[in-house]
């Protein structure tokens, strides 16, 4: 199914592009919103990501749906990192003390779903912490790759990750997740 969609998109079929967009738009919007906190910026990142994807899809070799999603996801992540670099959001890497002293995050939406609560907590992390945590813990990048992507040192990446974990655990404990996390471990 997705293979036919990709083939039609490679021929420039507009209907296939629309179907592919509808299939992945919400999922990739969540990815974009994990890196870029504000929704208008996340929409801009998503749109630029889809533009690049549709222009580069002629060189994409389809294997399976997971490969297609990973390819789209990587494009959106790169676009988000480019947006962060362009808007100098990553300059907050140096202000470690101030971010640690920040007050509690905004009140979470009471959705009753653990995933939504965790997702909202990650979005509340400071930009430097959030970016490194997303890249390392969720996307699976190494510190060397993160350092190359963000143009920082590996030690800075490790430090940011450590502090992001600490802050996230603190917030999870405040929301009653500490015991559950340790129990699962």
């Amino acid at each position: 199914m997705s293979q036919q969609l990709v083939e039609q998109c490679q021929r420039g079929n507009s209907f296939a592009q629309k179907r592919l967009f509808d299939q992945y738009a919400n999922r990739l919007f969540r990815v974009s919103l994990r890196y870029v906190r504000h929704e208008p910026e996340a929409e801009e990142v998503l749109m630029n990501g889809f533009l690049k994807a549709f222009r580069a899809i002629s060189g994409f070799a389809y294997r399976d749906d997971n490969g297609l999603e990973a390819w789209l996801r990587r494009i959106v992540i790169n676009e988000a990192l480019q947006h962060l670099r362009a808007n100098r959001h990553l300059s907050l890497f140096q202000a470690d003390d101030e971010t640690e002293a920040q007050p509690d995050p905004e009140p979470l939406p009471d959705t009753g779903l653990d995933a939504e609560r965790i997702y909202a907590l990650i979005r509340e992390l400071p930009p430097g912490y959030r970016t490194v945590f997303n890249l390392y813990a969720i996307e699976g990048y190494t510190h060397r790759e993160i350092a190359e992507q963000l143009r920082i040192s590996e030690n800075t990446s490790k430090s940011q990750l450590s502090k992001a974990r600490a802050l996230l655990q603190t917030w999870l404990a405040q929301n009653g997740y500490e015991a559950e996390t340790r129990r699962n471990a």
Partner: protein, 240 residues
């Protein structure tokens, strides 16, 4: 191998986030249809821009080619040489008596050789005939004699005209001499007229001998008032 607590947290977060529904976050105003409405024109515009760019390049190349060809075909007026002198002598009486059609064999054209080659330094004397012409040459000479490209002789002011060279194709068929003669740009003069002009002009001959008067040995110079004036005509035949 026992996992570190931090890696355990990462794994737990990853597993939790994988359970997220395929919808926008709660409280979000994200609308995929609205974003597609913005994205679709961008996708359509990209190839058009590329086509427009190609069209502009093709148009610029054509314009450059036309400009270069125009300069190649039309040299500047300074480059045009005005060396053409045409004399056409025709024996009308003989021609009309023997041939019902005009006799072009008697035409003598003294002009610059008109051909596809440029900047030829010599001017050739030609007799034009009614032979078939090649496609590449405009004038087919029957007899041609190379002469220097000099200004026309002084003794032929009545027939000499200095005109700019205009490379005009020679008409192949000329059924009526009178009709075509009107279209000619050079003056057509019969050979007899030239001969009559030469005969009417006083004949001047070049001096061939000089005669010395007296011995030339004088002890005293002769007074100026008694010295005879020796006048020799320093003339020459104009056509030599």
């Amino acid at each position: 191998m026992k996992q570190k607590p931090d890696e355990t947290l990462d794994q737990w977060v990853r597993q939790t986030l994988s359970q997220l529904p395929d919808t926008p976050p709660p409280g979000s105003s994200f609308d995929p249809a609205r974003l597609w409405a913005q994205l679709h024109p961008e996708l359509q515009a990209a190839p058009v821009r590329r086509k427009i760019g190609i069209v502009w390049w093709i148009a610029a190349a054509c314009l450059t080619g036309l400009t270069l060809s125009w300069f190649w075909m039309n040299p500047s007026p300074a480059d045009r040489k005005t060396v053409a002198v045409q004399k056409i002598d025709r024996k009308e009486d003989v021609a009309t008596a023997s041939h019902p059609t005009p006799n072009w064999a008697a035409e003598v054209v003294n002009s610059k050789t008109i051909s596809t080659e440029k900047n030829r330094p010599m001017v050739s004397l030609k007799i034009r005939s009614r032979q078939k012409q090649g496609p590449d040459q405009e004038v087919i000479p029957v007899r041609s004699k190379a002469v220097k490209a000099e200004p026309p002789a002084i003794e032929l002011p009545a027939v000499a005209e200095v005109l700019p060279i205009i490379e005009k194709p020679v008409e192949r068929s000329k059924p009526n001499v009178a009709a075509t003669a009107l279209k000619r740009r050079f003056r057509v003069v019969h050979e007899n007229e030239l001969q009559a002009e030469e005969e009417a002009r006083p004949k001047l001959y070049r001096t061939e001998h000089f005669v010395r008067i007296g011995t030339g040995e004088r002890s005293e110079p002769a007074p100026n008032e008694n010295r005879p004036a020796l006048r020799l005509p320093l003339t020459h035949k104009p056509n030599q």
